[in-house]
């Protein structure tokens, strides 16, 4: 099984971090992984994206051109990446910021109000974790528990207080997948 994922949004939405956390968790579960960021001026305020591959096989090209899933956090990214999802693949759209519907009918599309959920949880910065929670539920690319282990490692010490809300974000995201 190979998951080839495109994650995209504005710089600052936590797209890169979300990808890294997934890659770390999958590695912990013994999978082969790669994480490839877009880089350069576009990171400053423009659209940022990363490609994550999670596979039982050694990872070939780190560039995702035929995505099994796309996690889209802003409108320009939807236009840019919708076409890269393979038929039968998964497209998760952050409906809090994107009022547009997907144009494809050969893929599974989920609308997740990630920013609204994050705000309800009292932390606007964890919309990315809501998206990731939804994706885990839709794909099984990694276990939610493993993701939490990684989050716990990242937010050790003073920042440990934010760990529970990340967990809630993953759970609320997962609940959006029916």
């Amino acid at each position: 099984m190979t998951h080839e994922i495109i994650m995209a949004g504005f710089g600052g939405q936590g797209v890169m971090a979300m990808g890294k956390i997934l890659a770390e968790a999958a590695l912990k579960e013994g999978k082969n992984v790669s994480w490839l960021p877009s880089y350069g001026p576009e990171m400053r305020g423009g659209t940022a994206n990363c490609n994550v591959i999670v596979s039982d096989e050694p990872v070939g090209a780190p560039v995702v051109s035929e995505a099994t899933a796309a996690l889209i956090l802003n409108r320009p990214s939807l236009d840019k990446f919708e076409g890269d999802v393979i038929p039968g693949g998964v497209l998760i759209i952050n409906s809090s910021l994107i009022d547009q519907k997907a144009s494809r009918d050969d893929i599974k599309v989920y609308y997740v109000p990630a920013n609204d959920i994050a705000n309800e949880l009292g932390n606007g910065r964890i919309a990315n974790m809501v998206m990731l929670g939804a994706y885990l539920e839709a794909s099984g690319a990694a276990k939610q528990d493993t993701i939490m282990e990684i989050i716990t490692e990242i937010f050790s010490g003073k920042k440990a207080s934010v760990i529970p809300v990340n967990k809630e974000a993953l759970v609320r995201g997962a609940a959006c997948i029916k």
Binding site: A23, E24, V33, S34, L36, P37, G40, V63
Partner: protein
């Protein structure tokens, strides 16, 4: 040790430190900035020195001074910066100093772009600077390989007194992959009796130099260098053969492009087309023998060189194939990355034409 997720640039820097590199001289340029950034934090912790030079020109000359003084020294840059370093690299090669130079290649010419490319192949393998000289050029295709080969590069450099270039691209530099830092096989390395350390009154002065004003002496020096290059060619050529046996079409690709080609080979296999790949791991010395052997293989109808350039390595493939089999090319450049699907399509076209 468990595998950890490392970004290519940082992994290369840590590998250098593990190989005993204690001096780094660099200058900022995208997409290799994580290397100097990492070194600026880590080297002082190891009792080493990181210095941000005023230019790439100065950085490579600091490397010249440090290497001539007997230390393990590294610098890193990306394409336009390597052009500026070309002067110093020629001097270092001429003075036979060991050092490691990392080029995280981006699109060119000129300022070009900052996205991954392989258009510095000529520069790396055919000179770049002036004069008859060679660098050992290593092209890793994964972060793990980058780590292993960076560590070995310092030993190669010391063994042969030659600059070694690690040639990656923006993808290798920026991507994260699982890495395990393993000790490299120990080599017997000569003592650096030539280094400038102060005579201590115990020996004649050592001179680090590439000037031979007498033409006969200069020719002799070149002949000596090329004896060494022959030895390196015999001992250090590295290549990976992937499914070459029985292949109808043999790809030649290096670095990250080779990974994309592997995807294409797997797709072709599903469609019943037998494809293989020769992946040069050392770009210089080029694995001529591997291409020659494939050219002599009855099953092989054609070669298809795939590069992120307008076609540079293809020259070496053609020389090695020596007209025995046609050599085709597919490439994207300027920071564009070829897709497996496009490679598959081109391979089919080639085979169609070859039939």
């Amino acid at each position: 040790m468990a595998k950890e997720l490392w970004k290519g640039n940082e992994a290369i820097a840590e590998a250098a430190i593990k190989a005993g590199c204690r001096y780094f001289f660099g200058y900022p340029i995208t997409p290799q900035n994580e290397i100097p950034e990492y070194m600026s934090l880590r080297l002082p912790q190891e009792g080493g020195v990181f210095l941000q030079a005023e230019s790439e020109v100065a950085a490579i000359n600091m490397v010249y001074g440090g290497a001539g003084s007997g230390a393990r020294v590294m610098t890193s840059s990306s394409s336009p910066g390597i052009s500026l370093k070309a002067e110093g690299i020629s001097y270092i090669a001429g003075a036979e100093l060991p050092c490691v130079i990392v080029n995280i290649v981006r699109g060119g010419p000129g300022l070009g772009g900052i996205q991954p490319a392989q258009s510095d192949y000529y520069q790396a393998t055919k000179g770049g600077g002036h004069g008859d000289y060679r660098l050992i050029v290593i092209a890793p295709s994964s972060v793990q390989e980058a780590v292993d080969l960076t560590q070995e590069a310092f030993d190669m450099a010391d063994q042969y007194r030659i600059p070694v270039m690690i040639m990656g691209d923006g993808m290798i530099g920026q991507m994260m992959e699982p890495v395990e830092f393993k000790p490299v096989a120990k080599r017997v390395l000569p003592e650096k009796t030539w280094a400038t350390t102060g005579t201590g009154g115990k020996r004649k002065p050592n001179v680090i130099n590439s000037l031979f004003i007498d033409p006969q002496e200069c020719e002799n020096h070149n002949i000596k260098l090329f004896k060494k290059y022959d030895e390196i060619t015999a001992n250090e050529t590295r290549v990976e053969n992937y499914n070459v046996e029985g292949a109808e079409i043999v790809f030649v690709a290096y670095g990250t492009t080779a990974r994309i080609v592997k995807n294409a080979i797997n797709t072709l296999a599903k469609e019943g087309i037998k494809a293989g790949m020769i992946r040069p791991i050392t770009l210089w010395p080029f694995p001529t023998a591997a291409v020659e052997a494939a050219a002599d293989q009855a099953s092989v109808k054609a070669f298809l060189t795939v590069e992120m350039s307008m076609g540079q390595m293809i020259d070496d493939v053609k020389i090695a194939a020596n007209g025995k089999k046609p050599v085709h090319f597919y490439g994207r450049t300027g920071g564009m990355i070829p897709t497996p699907a496009a490679i598959v399509e081109h391979a089919k076209k080639v085979l169609g034409g070859a039939k």
